[in-house]
Amino acid sequence: MASRTEAPAAAPLVVRARDVTKSYGKGPGRTQVLRGVSLDVAPGEFVALVGQSGSGKSTLLNIIGGLDHLDAGVVEVFGLDYRKASETAKATLRNQRIGFVFQAFNLLDSLTCLDNVILPASFRAGAAAGKAATDQGLEMLRRVGMADLARRRPSELSGGQKQRVAIARALFGGPELLLCDEPTGNLDSETGREVIEFFRELNQRDGVTLLIVTHERRVSSVAGRVVAMRDGAIVEAEGVEAAAHGDEAPPAEARA
């Protein structure tokens, strides 16, 4: 386990971020969240992004996922340069190659679990519709052990069950990169352990590249690489332990 910004292999990178800066607000209230962050992630890597609240790790994850804009620097995901890419190209990338898992699950209560899982198919141009999507959705739910509850609404589920449905949604369409923001933050420790184990398998057996923002020691212990952040920058290896675990309370990620 080491902390470094460069990925190990020479294979085409999944994520290539260079000198990324990001700030929120204007004038005196302006907060610099990222101060020139560089990070490479190679295919098949399992990277844990750790750091205290407000260190900028969630912002970095959002920028890599195309959910937020960067102020300066370069971000390329699967070779797509975000500064030059259209919103539609980024949306297509998210739809087809990236899966998201959030701390707050973000399931739609108006939909059944299955419909939540196959939601990405709705935005896919010319994708196999109807039965094919349903079959794939059920298969994803089976993988996370939720096939029996496919017709339930998320409001009827426990936190762990919700997160498994959310993971099934993230896996729908077979993404190559999974971006997870505190995926175990709202789960009890037993359920959290199961989820982490699931991610480890996913990474080792299916070769899915994982970038996980986390507070959990357990996650960083199974990750192939731990990248620590403090005050909007990636800190050196010797600072990893302190940066990762200086803040033991698992708070919601604060922006400013």
Partner: protein, 471 residues
């Protein structure tokens, strides 16, 4: 985005909160309700007016003028008719001639005595103009064609049969007593003078006379009515021509043969040849050649101005201000005003929809952000929000059309029950056309779309990370 998933998402969203959906489309329902009702009622009023006052024709008259006490008015004569008919924009020019001397009519109808002063309220027109009226039913046309003719035309009259006028109340000895009478002046059997009345007169009769005297209502389907009642026997009367200042008088018998929009609106109309002969006989040769007006059919309505100009400059004549034209303008203005009112209601409802949808977008930030995260493009998010507005707009439009139909039925019921009969009182006060219903629904959707536009744009522009980070 394919239509199936889009419809599923939009439909689900629209139905998710039914109470609010109904509240937000309330304005659209009311706006479309009044919009369609206003269209349908003004359509009906316009149609009734067009029936009473045909708009495809203009009437040319000679202005009355005197110079140093002498009448220098232009005369309308056969030459004027020829000049007008030669104009390229004129399809047809039909002269009318009014009776130029006093006359009275006496008859009875279903046992009720009718006595009328006629004078200028009788006129004549080319029979072909009446028989060729395209608004006539085929049965009425056939019926009129056989009766509304100049029966004194030598070719039609043949050799007159001499007769002795019978005492009052008795039948003549003429060969066709149901059609002919024994003329007291010429002592020959003559065909009764055929008379047509306008729909306005029919309405007056049905709503006033028949009600007051208990006589049967006359069907608009005149031929059927007449044939069912055994022909012409009961619709005849005596015209007393002349008298008073003319110093002489004689009687002819006349018979009502039909209802025609080409007849004088208030008065009676006979074939023009009769009026020409009578005016010559009682007033003089000139009176038998001077028309009271010329009814001109133009190829297109927008040529009225060109034609009027030519008429004024070339012939020193003018187009009679048509009552129908003026009323049509009133109806048009009324329609525009009412539609503007409905438009204001719709605009307010669009604002209310915008308000609702701004709240809705704020409430659903997280959901919309998630859609973006799993691959929805900005356009797709916009189309989902706009689509929901359109679904509600269509729903509002359908309910609005329903509301207008219900209001129309209510108005018809109330007016029918609480107002007396009057001429041209219609059974229904509205004329709903398919385009009004389709247009009402489409406009409902359009205004909902206008209301949903800005919220949808805001939804599409939201940064997914921001949307997902807030509760």
């Amino acid at each position: 985005m394919r239509a199936g998933p889009w419809l599923r998402i939009v439909g689900r969203n629209a139905l998710r909160n039914r109470a609010r959906a109904l509240t937000s489309v309330f304005g659209i329902v009311v706006g479309i309700g009044f919009f369609v009702l206003f269209l349908a009622s003004t359509e009906k009023i316009g149609a009734v007016l067009a029936k009473v006052f045909p708009l495809d024709e203009v009437e040319v008259v000679a202005p009355q003028a005197t110079l140093l006490g002498a009448d220098v008015s232009k005369r309308l004569d056969a030459h004027t008719v020829e000049l007008i008919a030669a104009r390229p924009e004129v399809v047809r020019a039909v002269p009318r001639m009014s009776l130029a001397f006093p006359a009275t009519g006496d008859g009875n109808f279903e046992g009720q005595a009718l006595s009328l002063k006629i004078d200028g309220s009788a006129d004549g027109v080319d029979p072909a103009h009446v028989v060729g009226d395209p608004s006539l039913s085929p049965a009425d046309r056939d019926y009129l064609d056989g009766l509304f003719q100049d029966w004194l035309d030598p070719a039609r009259r043949g050799t007159p049969v001499a007769c002795v006028p019978p005492p009052p109340g008795q039948r003549s000895s003429c060969p066709k007593p149901d059609r002919q009478y024994c003329d007291a002046t010429t002592r020959t059997c003559e065909h009764r003078v055929p008379v047509v009345l306008s729909p306005a007169m029919l309405q007056l009769y049905n709503t006033q006379f028949a009600k007051a005297n208990g006589t049967p209502l006359v069907d608009a389907d005149f031929a059927k009515f007449m044939l069912a009642r055994g022909g012409l026997e009961r619709m005849r009367f005596t015209l007393q021509l002349g008298g008073g200042s003319t110093g002489r008088s004689r009687a002819v018998e006349a018979v009502l043969v039909g209802i025609s929009a080409k007849a004088k609106p208030i008065g009676m109309t006979v074939p023009i040849q009769y009026i020409e002969r009578w005016n010559r006989e009682f007033v003089g040769d000139d009176a038998g050649k001077t028309f009271s007006s010329i009814v001109v059919t133009l190829a297109a309505r927008d040529q009225v101005a060109v034609f009027s100009q030519w008429l004024r400059d070339g012939l020193d004549l003018r187009v009679e201000d048509s009552v129908g034209e003026r009323l049509a303008t009133v109806v048009l203005v009324m329609r525009v005003v009412l539609i503007l009112i409905a438009g204001v209601i719709l605009l307010i409802s669009a604002v209310s929809i915008a308000h609702t949808f701004f709240m809705l977008v704020a409430e659903r930030r997280r959901e919309l952000g998630l859609m973006r995260a799993v691959g929805a493009t900005r356009t797709q998010v916009r189309s989902i929000v706009l689509g929901e507005a359109v679904v509600l707009g269509v729903l509002g439009g359908v309910l609005g059309v329903g509301l207008s139909l219900a209001l129309a039925a209510l108005v018809d019921g109330v007016v029918g029950a609480y107002t007396p009969n009057f001429p041209f009182k219609p059974d229904t006060w509205t004329a709903f056309k398919p385009w009004m219903i389709g247009g009402g629904i489409a406009i409902g959707a359009l205004f909902a779309m206008i209301g949903g536009y800005l919220p949808a744009r805001r939804a599409a522009r939201m940064e997914p990370a921001t949307a997902l980070s807030q509760d």
